[in-house]
């Protein structure tokens, strides 16, 4: 962890107008929860849609995708990564600092609102569960998308295919695919911390947490290795 890199990354991410792009999604999540809660329809009907299909399936991965692939991806695209690579810093430190910022921002912009929505829908227990699950999920997603941004020139496109086709489509038809689905880890961890009928966990909590840790480690190591042998090229193709 390097404080200077952390600070610069956070400023590049949040110091511009585009940081406002992170606001509508959590606002929509909490607004919709309040609206649904106000109608008096039991939470069992709308809870799984708001918390599961919207919060865990869309808002968390999408926020992590945008943030996780831009912490390093934008610097590569602009070529400013040379300034960081030229400093006498271990590449591991660079990756860890970037990952930390991505995790923090994703937690703030997606996991915390999810916990608030959980508190409205099911009380403090559910809020705690969602906060724990989503914080772990945010780290796992960030690690995966950070690695994508070093493996490819189009990290967002690949991450999008992963979210939409693997996590949302394939897991539904081939349930073995859930072993590599961060969304399933998030749900399972949240459900283990605070069992709730609003979450439909399909993995045992311990297994999910272990797999998530493995994914985080693999993503970080892959990113570090790629950054060690990083070749600067222009935007071709």
């Amino acid at each position: 962890m390097n404080l200077t890199i952390t600070r610069i990354t956070a400023r590049a991410l949040l110091g511009r107008k585009r940081a406002l792009l992170l606001l509508p999604m959590p606002a929509l999540l909490i607004g919709l929860t309040l609206l649904a809660n106000g109608t008096g329809v039991p939470a069992a009907d709308w809870g799984p849609i708001v918390l599961g299909e919207m919060g865990i399936t869309v808002i968390l991965p999408l926020t992590a995708l945008i943030v996780g692939s831009s912490v390093l991806g934008l610097e590569i695209e602009d070529g400013t990564i040379t300034h960081i690579l030229a400093k006498p810093l271990p590449r591991r430190e660079i990756v860890l600092s970037k990952l930390f910022v991505a995790w923090g921002v994703t937690t703030l912009a997606a996991a915390a609102p999810l916990a608030v929505a959980g508190a409205i829908a099911g009380g403090p227990g559910l809020a705690l569960g969602l906060l724990g699950g989503a914080t772990l999920g945010a780290l796992a997603y960030s690690a995966v998308f950070l690695a994508f941004s070093l493996l490819s020139r189009r990290p967002v496109a690949i991450g999008l295919i992963y979210i939409m086709l693997w996590e949302n489509l394939l897991v539904r038809f081939a349930s073995g695919a859930k072993v590599l689905s961060v969304q399933r880890y998030t749900t399972a961890t949240a459900d283990t911390i605070s069992p709730s009928e609003l979450l439909n966990a399909t993995l045992p909590g311990v297994v999910a947490a272990a797999l998530a840790v493995a994914v985080i480690a693999a993503g970080t190591m892959l990113a570090t290795m790629r950054l060690r042998s990083f070749a600067l090229t222009g935007e071709t193709s």
Binding site: I49, L62, I66, G73, I158, L160
Partner: protein, 288 residues
């Protein structure tokens, strides 16, 4: 500069030969932009990496269609109709437009290529419409591949001979109409969003956020709303909206529309028109 020079207007003539050949006009340029954009959409004429994602999604759709055909021929009734396959694949098509639309417009914005386009005969609206037509055609091709596979599989495997083939052709026509509607609306939604950002990262993010976030919102309203609101909730989500149009036109599709079918049809038309208008407006105002 197709106007002839008159002698008095020359500032400095260092004696180079002038271009005397035929100058192709605005329409030729617009058609060239369309063809080039269509090739760009699938990565033709570009590196293998650029082909990977769009062609990969196309291949996935075709494989899925093949599996469906093989399953269907083993069963007395086909598992999915032509309209149904378009309705199902529209979800995948949103991923496709989110990947492809930024390729078409964001790169030009980012690399400041627009002055080069706009200083030529084609007008700004020609550029916008050519890009839109190219994206719509690319999405249509994504639907057309699976439809064709399904048609070949079902029409030639049947035992009813020519009459079976004719019947299949009629059904295929409905599928093609659905595919055209879906392609136009999806392209008209995605391209204006993509043209907001010169960075493909953010352009893709904006498009996909728009498509993905709307689905659960409309799902929640369907759950909590009373009758009419539940039937109209699909209007909020582009994919549900399109499936509602299928329900209205062909009475098959994934959403319930009640008696509000025409509303869905109207909403789809308004969405396509608004998207096109916003895109042309965007390129009229864009800073170059």
């Amino acid at each position: 500069m197709s106007r002839p020079h008159n002698a008095g207007s020359v500032i400095h003539d260092i004696g180079y030969q002038r271009y005397q050949g035929v100058r192709f006009g605005r329409r030729y340029s617009a058609r060239s932009m369309y063809v080039h954009s269509l090739r760009t959409a699938y990565g033709f004429g570009r590196s293998a990496r650029a082909k990977l994602l769009p062609c990969g999604i196309f291949a996935l759709a075709c494989i899925a269609a093949l599996v469906l055909v093989v399953v269907s021929t083993q069963l007395p009734e086909p598992v999915l109709s032509y309209v149904g396959i378009v309705a199902i694949f529209s979800y995948g098509a949103t991923a496709f437009v989110a990947v492809v639309a930024p390729e078409l417009v964001s790169r030009d914005l980012r690399n400041s290529l627009l002055p080069l386009y706009f200083s030529r005969p084609p007008q700004r609206s020609d550029y916008a419409l050519a890009k839109l037509a190219a994206l719509a055609t690319a999405v249509f091709a994504l639907f057309a591949g699976p439809l064709l596979i399904m048609f070949v599989g079902l029409a030639f495997s049947g035992t009813s001979g020519l009459s079976g083939m004719l019947e299949q052709s009629g059904l295929l026509l409905a599928g093609i109409v659905t595919a055209v509607i879906h392609a136009i609306v999806l392209a008209a939604v995605a391209l204006p969003l993509a043209s907001l950002s010169g960075r493909r990262v953010f352009a893709t993010g904006i498009i996909i956020a728009f498509f993905l976030i709307a689905a659960p919102v409309s799902g929640v309203l369907r759950e909590i709303g009373p009758g009419a609101l539940a039937d109209l909730a699909g209007l909020l989500d582009t994919v549900s909206l399109l499936n509602g149009v299928d329900r209205w036109l062909f009475d098959e599709g994934l959403v319930r529309v009640g008696s509000y079918g025409p509303v869905y049809g109207l909403a789809a038309a308004v969405l396509a028109a608004a998207g096109t208008a916003l895109l042309t407006l965007r390129y009229r105002k864009v800073k170059i």
